[in-house]
């Protein structure tokens, strides 16, 4: 009964390692980033364990500093930035636009190899002693003072960044040049819009950190202070160059997640998304405005008053398109026909937690408040709300939603809902106390802390243990389902979208004939009406 599909068309390691099929490459990425996620998570476990007691008594200070650094590096560069684009984007983008593959399949495979090389180098850095500069690598500590594996780690990041550029470049060309007949820009699924905006950031932003890393490496190798005042260098220049990429990078991490949420909300309300063009244009606005706010990370680094004001007002403005999305998603529920399948639970989780995370961004954009909470746990809580409560939740929602398409199997709904709930509870218990810790004044990157902060820290660490369970359980049942899950139909969710017009799992070239699109996205007039093909 097994029809030929992209999974069984060829067996053997070579057929996977030399594949150019975007769907197989997506799975190669899935394996790699899942590994890096758990490694980054292991470092987080060490950090939260240490912080159960106020004294630095579990590990040495230098070890602790390496733990939080490598947690950040692994999670940001080797998990979050690739995650949704490289796994779900790679798998779905061609299908969503009615194409047989991406524009440059071999470059797609190259991007995976480049990523893996970067990851291996990064792991090598961790194993060979680690790096303790913080994921932000500020000079002159990282360039002149630390004796840890800065260049190796930076090299790993450089490769991961290059992989990111190749993915983004591939997506931009694909979306521009390979849409099916009739698929105009404003008929594209919002997932595609989100990835388009993300890809623009990847292509224009990542090169700047590439050159920053090169300059940092040059300073370390040549022992010449590009960022050291002794020959006239400026450490704050490093910060400007670093954040010019790293701020837009956070939008690389959240825009694809928002794209997933748009897909989930419309499907599980069985209703056309409210405000389609507003959501699409918001993605573009976020990408553009995201390039203009980098120095809000540097309000207390001696910037002039007027520069600070400019970056503050722009940081407020960049919040508005995100707010527009949240309102439109909520409005989609109105008079919908809503079910609470696991992907929808994750979508709800995203909207709630992203709202909180985004609102706390306003605190940081407010100059007078930022002075107090900069470099404290308030910031840590803010970005984890968005990246974990937001991006990772959406990623989980997307993995579950498209799992039947990707694997041809259904995951066990009971266990999946249980995990989603566990994640939600564990997440809030871990990170909400950190807002309080931050306003109280507990700085970040602290190995030991004053006693009065202990109760909140213990709460946070307890939450982290629950969070861990929430991530481990899906690993188990998803792997289980690949062998023992119920076979999935082509469209288990009765969703709209070209990807659901293929079998589960799809054949290698996706469509027998290129579909012709004659209607907008998400037209749920009748439950069984299909998008016309041929």
């Amino acid at each position: 009964m097994t029809r030929t599909n992209y999974l069984n068309v060829q067996y053997g390691v070579r057929s996977w390692l030399l594949t150019t099929d975007h769907k197989r490459i997506a799975l190669l990425y899935l394996a790699a980033i899942t590994l890096f996620f758990f490694i980054g998570g292991a470092f987080a476990v060490m950090v939260r364990l240490e912080l159960v007691t106020p004294q630095g008594d579990l590990v040495e200070a230098e070890t602790y500093n390496k733990m939080f650094t490598m947690h950040g590096v692994m999670m940001v560069f080797f998990f979050l930035i690739p995650s949704t684009p490289a796994v779900l984007g790679n798998f779905l983008l061609p299908m969503m636009i009615g194409a047989r593959d991406l524009a440059f399949p071999r470059i797609n495979l190259l991007s995976w190899y480049v990523f893996v090389v970067g990851g291996v180098i990064g792991l090598g850095a961790a194993i060979s002693g680690g790096v303790d500069t913080g994921w932000t690598f500020y000079a002159p500590y990282s360039s002149t003072y630390t004796n840890t594996a800065v260049i190796t780690t930076a090299l790993g990041v450089f490769f991961a960044g290059f992989s990111s550029i190749l993915t983004g470049f591939n997506f931009i060309v694909t979306i521009h040049k390979m849409r099916a007949p009739g698929l105009t820009w404003f008929r594209l699924p919002l997932f595609v819009w989100a990835h388009y905006a993300t890809s623009v950031i990847q292509v224009l932003g990542t090169p700047v950190i590439a050159i920053t890393i090169i300059l940092l490496a040059m300073e370390r190798v040549m022992r010449v202070g590009i960022f050291d005042p002794k020959i006239g260098g400026d450490p704050v220049l490093f910060q400007h160059l670093f954040w010019f990429y790293s701020h837009p990078a956070v939008y690389i991490m959240v825009l694809p997640a928002m794209g997933i949420v748009s897909e989930l909300v419309t499907c599980f309300s069985r209703k056309k998304i409210y405000g389609y063009s507003f959501i699409a244009m918001s993605s573009v606005a976020i990408a553009v405005l995201g390039f203009l706010v980098w120095a809000h990370h540097m309000f207390v680094a001696g910037m002039s008053l007027y520069a600070s004001m400019v970056f503050s007002v722009l940081s407020f403005l960049v919040a508005i398109p995100s707010a527009i999305k949240v309102f439109n998603w909520t409005a989609t529920l109105y008079r919908g026909s809503i079910v609470y399948q696991t992907p929808m639970l994750y979508a709800f989780g995203f909207i709630g937690l992203f709202t909180i995370g985004g609102l706390t961004g306003l605190f940081l954009a407010t100059l007078a408040v930022d002075v107090h909470v900069h470099d404290t746990y308030f910031v840590v809580a803010h970005f984890h709300y968005i990246m974990v409560g937001g991006s990772v939740m959406a990623y989980m929602g997307g993995i579950h939603y498209w799992w039947p398409k990707i694997s041809g199997r259904l995951y066990p709904e009971g266990w999946a809902r249980f995990s989603a709930l566990v994640l939600f509870v564990g997440f809030n218990l871990t990170f909400f106390p950190q807002f309080l810790l931050g306003y109280l004044g507990m700085p970040r990157r602290y190995h030991s802390y004053p006693e009065e902060f202990q109760v909140l820290n213990v709460m946070s660490s307890a939450g982290a243990s629950i969070l861990g369970v929430g991530y481990l359980v899906p690993m188990v049942y998803l792997v289980w389902s690949m062998r023992y899950g119920k076979p999935a139909p082509a469209n288990p969710w009765s969703a709209k979208g070209l990807e659901w017009n293929t079998p589960s799992p799809p054949p290698t070239f996706n469509f027998d004939q290129t579909p012709v699109v004659t209607e907008d996205a998400y037209v749920y007039q009748k439950a069984d009406e299909e998008v016309p093909v041929g």
Binding site: R100, A103, V203, P207, V208, I231, G232
Partner: protein
Amino acid sequence: MADHASAVAHQFDDMEQQLDASTFGMWVFLAQEVMFFGGLFLAYTIYRGAYPDAFREASHHLDLRLGALNTVVLIGSSLTMALAVRAAQLSRSRALAGFLVATLVLGTVFLAVKAFEYHHKYVEQHIPGLNFHAEGPLAGPVQMFFVFYFAMTGMHALHMIVGAGLLVYFIVKARRGRYSAHYYGPVEVMGLYWHFVDIVWIFLFPLLYLIR
């Protein structure tokens, strides 16, 4: 002779879409390169603004004539590259190969002149991190100038070496008659890359050599 149908990759519907996608792709890639060099140029500009006298003095240590020669050589190579693309579009394989070889030769001349200049810097003890030695109160920022000199010209040279390697590949393919009016996309894309590398130099040259 090349089989025209099989030159279209499976993900594209026709040659036109393939050519369109490849060219557009190269423009996107070049946008990325602009940001890469842009970051470097920005850092250079900031330091030059802070230490104008030191940078002026350091620039005097560069050989203006060699820099100007290199500029002419590179512009010439862009001309030969453009002619190569034209030849491909007109199915003139021998002319194509010839122009590609000329481009490669000019590119190699450029790199040789650069190597000579680097050697000269070595002799003058102007290589930061290796043997840098300068006197006077401006020594620090002068060294900063040379850090950027080597970073900027080094990055550029690296891109030229990659370009030269690609030219070798294209020359081999051209001589086998791979390119014609039906299939010249790769040559056009190569041309875009080569022109970009040329343009980077056209910015580099005045920034580094022409501070007077």
